[in-house]
Structures are given as C-alpha cells and as structure tokens.
Symmetry: C2
Subunit: 482 residues, 2 copies
C-alpha cells in the first residue's frame, strides 16, 4: 500500500486500472472462494454510509425493515414460470444439512420475491393491511461464471424492497417513487448522474410487468445498471395466493413491487470518480472527509504541529469527519500519495511555517487545487469546500456523460464503429421489435439500457429505427454495459 508504485492508467487498460485501484485502495480483496470477495474496512465504510443514507430515505417514504430466510425451498422458486427461468440456472443449492441429505433441496436466495410474498399472503387479509411496505438488507447469491470485484460476484450485499398494494396504479406509483429515491441517492450522495427509464421486455426482471432502471455512465463509456425497480403486477400474488378483501367486499390479488440496489454501487463510484492517482470519494459518502497531514522535522516542531492538529480536530468534531495522520514512520509525501489513492476529499497540510502564518493548506482531491486558509475560519471554509466538491463532482460527471452521449441521426455503421471503439450512450430510434434489439446485441454487444424517461429524451424524437429503418416507436438509449 505505502509503496509508491503507480496505478495502471485508465487509458492504458481501464479494466486493469479498476482492479488495481480496488485492491490497492483496500476497498476489497479476493477470497479463497471462487467469485466471492472480501469487502475490506475502507470499502465497507463507504457501504455503511450508503446504507445509512438509503435506509433513511426508505424510512422517510414509509418503509420498514424486516428479515427473511436465506434459504428458499426449490419448489417456491419454481412456481413463477418466468422467475424460475431467469434465476434457476444461477443458483447455489444446499443439498445436505446436519450431515443428512435433505428431502427438498434449498436454494440460497438469488432474490427473495418467492419467500417474501409467501409470508405476505399470511399477513394480508384486508385492504386495511395495505399497502405493506417492507425492505430487507441481505446477502444474495447468484452463480456467475465471470466475476469482477463489486460489479459481479457470486455473493453480494444489497437491499431489496418488497411491497403490496391494493391497485395497479398504487404499485406503479411506488415503483416510480423508488426509482426516484435511487436517482436522488445516486446523484446527491454518490455524485453519479443517471439516466432513468423503462427496460424493454428482453431486459425486464424475470417475473415483472415492468422494470425501471437507473443507468450510469462509467469512464470507459459503458453503462452500469445501478438500481432497478419493478412493478410485478399480480404475477407473484397469484402464485402465492396473496389475496385481500377489497373495500367493496370482494377479493382481489395484491399488486407487488420490488426494488434493489447493491454493493455494485461501490464499483460504480470507483468507475465514475476514480482517476489515475486513485479513488475520489464524494464527501457525503466519505468515512473520512478530511485528513490532516502534519509536517515536522524536529521534535519541537512535531509537538507544536500535532498540538495544532488536535485543536483543529476538536473544533471540527460533529461538523467534519477528520483523521490526523500522525504516523512517524512515513514522510508527508508518502502520506499524500496514500490519501490520494484512498480518495479522501480534502487534505489539510499543516507545518511550522503554516502555523507561523496562522494558516493551513487545503488540497482538494477532486481537482488537486491547493488553497491556504486562515486557521480562525478553517472550519467554516472546509465545510463550504466539501459542499462545493460534492456539487462539482456531480457537475463534472454529468458533463463527461453528455460529452459521450450521441443524439440525432446516426447510421448503423457509425453506431457500430462507436460501440467497437470508445463507446457512448447513443440515443436512437427503435421500432419496438425485439428482433432488431437482439440483432444489434449480437452484432455489437450493445443493449437498450432504457427507453428513457421524458426529461432525458431528445428534443426531436428520432423518426426511424437504428437497425431496420422502419418508423421508430420509442427513443432508446443504447450502450455496452457491465
């Protein structure tokens, strides 16, 4: 960690840069179990802040947390036809327990619709019991063949919201609301702008009526599906007999939604904000917002500088999360290097000459701009700077995305070249035919990320399908994706 070997650059090999950064910034490590990662304290600290922020937003919208079993009877997964088709091939299966072969194998949950709606059916009798608004923080397992730290692992941590409603429209409103919650979190906490919209039938969640997604552009111009929200219709309710007595005295099946976001978001954070010097963490998610690097040569200087550093920390308590790097086994330059790698938003350099001038030097991690600040208003200046950094990181990421978004008429050949080359979000027409969608995917590996929500659509709607030239029925955002 402390050796100053340079990271692979993004330009040289984006994928190698990513792995290098994740390992050397100690966000995660490989484990002895194929495809399973260890989330190290620096990575987990970011996840804890993500969890807290999302959890507060879920609670503010009326949801409560609960916990459902890790194991799902195999027969439950099989009840919803599309669901089993989507998930059964990638499950881990427990066949033995307590030294004996089980009568029925248990699947390690890949997602919990089946077990949760089976429980909802026990709890819901009347329209008065609706809406039922539940969230679970849990680990899930999907047997992926090719894995990447944070982005795709056999086991990952996530939250899955599950709700039941009396009407289609209420479920639809919930699915849209939670998409909005995700977007707000990603933009205002992660400083990661997203395009929202609906998935095509081919990309829909297995068992859903409609799937909505937040899609973010990484620095290699590929899309990351960062959070999805599903209107499940009555599909699961019918299978698990989740019925209720309506206000007018009849009975009906409930309408469900589910929505999830995972530790994949940490990968998204890295690929949105990381640079060739390491990670850049947006201040609101940074376990440490500012690190004080004291500079000294003599013992006398050391005690003077550390004294000032501790006074500063005391002043900042409850306002800014500060760490003092007082290690005397490392030079300041090595410390700068390390904290840049780890992505702490602001470095505070504090040496004897600074103290002589009653100042410290603040160095922004995002822009690396330095500015001297008088000690007597450092706290206020630092707070303001952190807000500025948070805002400007979002602005910069949005600008970058727009520079790599292509709108307006594009030939299929030009599109194909773009996808083979530097990549982009391409806004183009689509005839609505799954055959065109599949052909483009075969050809270029690009997929329709979303049929974008109104605010993301081009001022002039595309007229023809990117592939077949027939009239377009909806604008689509095409990109290669993680």
């Amino acid at each position: 960690m402390s050796d100053e070997k340079k990271l692979t650059t993004r330009a040289a090999d984006f994928s190698a840069w990513y792995n290098d950064l994740v390992l050397r910034a100690e966000l995660a490590d490989y484990s002895p179990v194929r495809g399973c990662m260890v989330i190290r304290p620096d990575g987990y600290g970011i996840w804890e802040r993500m969890q807290r922020a999302l959890d507060d937003m879920f609670k503010a919208t009326g949801h409560r947390n609960a916990y459902f079993p890790l194991f799902i009877p195999q027969s439950y997964l099989q009840r919803e036809a599309q669901h089993v088709e989507g998930f059964a091939p990638e499950t881990a299966v427990v066949t033995h327990g307590g030294g004996k072969l089980l009568e029925e194998p248990l699947v390690v949950r890949p997602t919990s619709e089946t077990i949760i709606y089976a429980m909802f059916a026990k709890w819901v009798q009347s329209y008065r019991d609706l809406p039922l608004l539940i969230n679970q923080w849990a680990n899930v397992v999907r047997w992926e063949m090719r894995t990447r730290l944070f982005l795709r692992t056999l086991e990952f941590l996530w939250q899955e919201g599950h709700t039941a409603h009396a009407t289609h429209d209420e479920a639809e409103a919930e699915a849209r609301q939670m998409l909005g919650v995700y977007r707000q979190f990603m933009e205002s906490w992660m400083a990661m702008p997203v395009v929202t919209g609906r998935k095509t039938d081919a990309e829909r969640f297995a068992g859903a009526l409609r799937t909505y997604s937040c899609e973010a552009m990484m620095q290699d111009n590929k899309a990351l599906q960062a959070g999805t929200s599903h209107n499940l219709g009555q599909n699961f309710a019918k299978v698990f007999d989740l019925k209720f007595q309506t206000e007018s005295g009849g009975t009906d099946f409930a309408w469900n939604t589910s929505w999830g976001a995972s530790t994949r978001l940490i990968g998204g954070l890295v690929m949105t904000h990381g640079d060739d010097n390491g990670l850049r963490v947006p201040p609101k998610l940074a376990p440490t917002e500012a690190v004080v690097v004291p500079i000294w040569r003599t013992d006398e200087e050391k005690s003077r500088v550390l004294g000032a550093a501790h006074a500063l920390r005391t002043e900042l308590t409850g306002r800014v999360r500060v760490h003092i790097d007082a290690r005397d086994t490392m030079k300041p330059g090595a410390k700068y290097y390390e904290w840049e790698l780890r992505g702490v938003p602001v470095r505070i350099e504090l040496g004897p000459r600074d103290l002589d001038k009653s100042q410290a030097v603040l160095v922004r991690r995002d822009t690396r701009v330095k500015q001297p600040v008088a000690l007597d208003h450092l706290a206020a200046d630092l707070e303001a700077l952190l807000i500025t950094i948070q805002d400007e990181m979002l602005t910069a990421a949005r600008k970058r995305r727009e520079e790599h978004s292509v709108r307006g008429a594009i030939t299929y050949d030009a599109f194909r070249q773009l996808m083979e080359g530097e990549g982009a979000f391409v806004y183009a027409g689509w005839c609505g035919d799954a055959a065109c969608e599949a052909a483009i995917k075969d050809d270029t590996k690009a997929t329709i990320r979303v049929l974008p929500d109104e605010e993301f659509r081009s001022p002039e709607a595309p007229r023809t399908c990117l592939k077949c030239g027939r009239p377009s029925t909806s604008e689509a955002v095409w990109a290669k994706a993680y």
Copy 2:
C-alpha cells in the same frame, strides 16, 4: 392481533407464553423453511437499535466493520481439529452451483474464524499491522434439530468480532474488554443483568483457549448464554499461517480473539421483561418510546385532541420517539391492549377532559402506574420518566435474579430437587473434575454456566464440590440453560 384473546400466562406454561408473545406482538413468524424464522418489522426494529448501540461501542473501542464470504471451503473448516469437531456436524452444505456439482463442497458459514484468519494471513506482515480489529455483521447457519424463535434457529443474525494481536496478554485483554462491552450493553441498554465469567473446558468454544460468557437469568430461572468472547490463542494462526515479523526481528504467530452476540438477544429481552400482558421493551431499545392514544367521541373532540397530539409530537421531535395512534377503527381500550402487548414503554392518554385541565395521563408499561402530567412540562417529565423506567427495569430484573440465586452450602439432593423444580442459579463448589460436571449434567440437565468473575463470587468461597465432596477448586454457577 387486535383480538383481545389473553396470552398464555407465564405460570401456566412459560414456553407457550414465549411463543405466543413473540408471534402476537409480531416480533417474528415461522417461515416455510424448517427452523428458519422471519423477523418482522417490530422485532427487526429492536434489532436495529441493538445493532446501532453495539456498533457504536465496537467503533469506540477501535474496531472497524468488514464483510467476508458466506461460503467456506469444506477443507478450511477441517483444518482446526477441535473447530471441525464442534461445527461440522451442524453445517448446511452447498454441493451444486450454476447447475453443476462443485469440485469442493462449500459450507454455509456457522462462524467465520477459518475464512477470516485465512484473509488476516494475507494482510498481516509485521507487528506494525497489529492489532487488527475487525467486526462483521452477518447471517450464519447452524443445522439445529430443535429450534425456537430467536433462541435457536437454523439461520440467525449476529455480529462476530475477530482480532489479531502480537501477544497473548493483548489478546486476553481484548477478550476481556469485549466481554465488558457486552455486559455494559446488556445491562445499560437491555436492562438485562448478567453474570460474567469463564466457561469450563467442556463448554468452551471449539478451537478456543478460553471462553468468557455473559449469562442472564430468564423468568423461568433458566440461564441464557447472551454473548461470548474467546481468547483463541495461536490455534487458528498456526493452522492458517498467520505470522508476523516481531519488533525484535523474529517471527511469531498472531494471537486471535473472537466474540459474538446474536438475534438471540431479542429472545432474552422477551424472557427477561415480558409479562402476562405482553412485551416490555426498555426505553433505550424501543423503536417507539411513547404512544399517544387520543380519546374522542365527537368529530369536534377528535380534531381538538388530534391537534393537541400533533403539537405534542412536534415538541417531542428529536427528544422522544413518539407515535400517534389515530386509527378510528378501534376504541381506546383496544389500543391500550395492543400497545401493552407490543411493549411500548409509555402510553400517553389524551382526551377532551385532559385538555380542559391542560394535562395528559402517562401510563408506564413496566409498572402500569398512571400519572397525570401538565402539558406544559410533559416533554421534560416524559424524558425523566423514560430514564426512570430504564433504571427500574434493570433493578427489578437484578432483584428477581438474586431472589432466585442460591449461595452457600447445599446438598446434592436439594440441588437436584431445585433443578427439577423451579430452577435457580446455584453458586456451589466444584472440584475441577470434568467427570463431576458431566455427571451433574446427565443427572439434572444443569451445566456450569460460568466460573464467575470475582465480583459475582460468594463472600465465602465454597469448600467442597457439589457432587463429590472433594475440595472445591473454584466456585461455579450451575443452572439449566437455553
């Protein structure tokens, strides 16, 4: 839930009372997976508050959270001889993934020593990397045959701390420190007094040098092992090659500790504080500390009373967690019944006649004592009352425990009768021979819960072994246990 069927009483059938309460207060429910429970929002809300309090204490003592894989290669579990003997018989085993038979079966973690110390071995090179102080919040699976909601389930939620140190003494100090953290949490948050001490070799954690435990007395006078802390010595370090370069330039194996507490604590809370009317939650752990039950007959009264209730809630924001039960489908009496069942510490009755007198009536859940309080100092009175309740619940539980603790000379016959009858914590002499320990267990089902720490020992040390009459080498606390 809202039907006013009485709970089974504790006196009639303690075990049925417990299940009845857990289900009817909606703390948990049975799931379709044998031995796995669903933790419902009211139960999970208590767990979230427990987590937050413990997590803060872990962080205050220098620990950081991380996350390790759910799956452990079967060969890892087998490396430490005692460990595998203790845990292998109760594991769930994944034999198939992605539709294929695995080359090596994966065990669903029953505890994570093996996988965690394998990772520590990668991370620790030098004494400068020590101590390494890690905690994980996770689910674990132990294939139990006889299960009880919260107390013993196939899957449960817990935290497991894992640390590595340079010396035996540091590891020992850590194990003792964390035992103290548990005790402090159990007493000052759960209002559940515990006896601390060391486990005998027969009751020690599989693979540990020494195990320490917090033992609480439930209302049926049985013991609940509520949290344990282990000095693992160098057992795991040797097996996983967790070595470090010492300050003097040699190499040595690290010294490990592990310590855990689980959702079993919720069962402990119920069995410590519940009564025949339902749950009693100590204020510090109550998601809702006070519930306002507004009383009205006319629409005019309703709007007046609800107006006052909302004003009260606004005043209490940030001070007391308050819920207003404004349902108009239930009478006040039914609401009282429901909130008593759910264990909310204080009920605030607020009706037109109270408003005429500028007062409300506070009703304590623990003692059911009522007191009118002037609205203009209700907030301060309520805050003080909640502190009083928290304190008095601990005092009452400690008093109860002492009334059912037996010290001083006791014949073996009297002991056996006591264990067959109402039960107790019996402080008696022990010769130190595992044969006596085993014979008593066979005979009475009672076990040595701990060799108690000094402050719990009797003023006069027992002279002879309870069973064999030989000289006692240590005082032991005997009880039947969950």
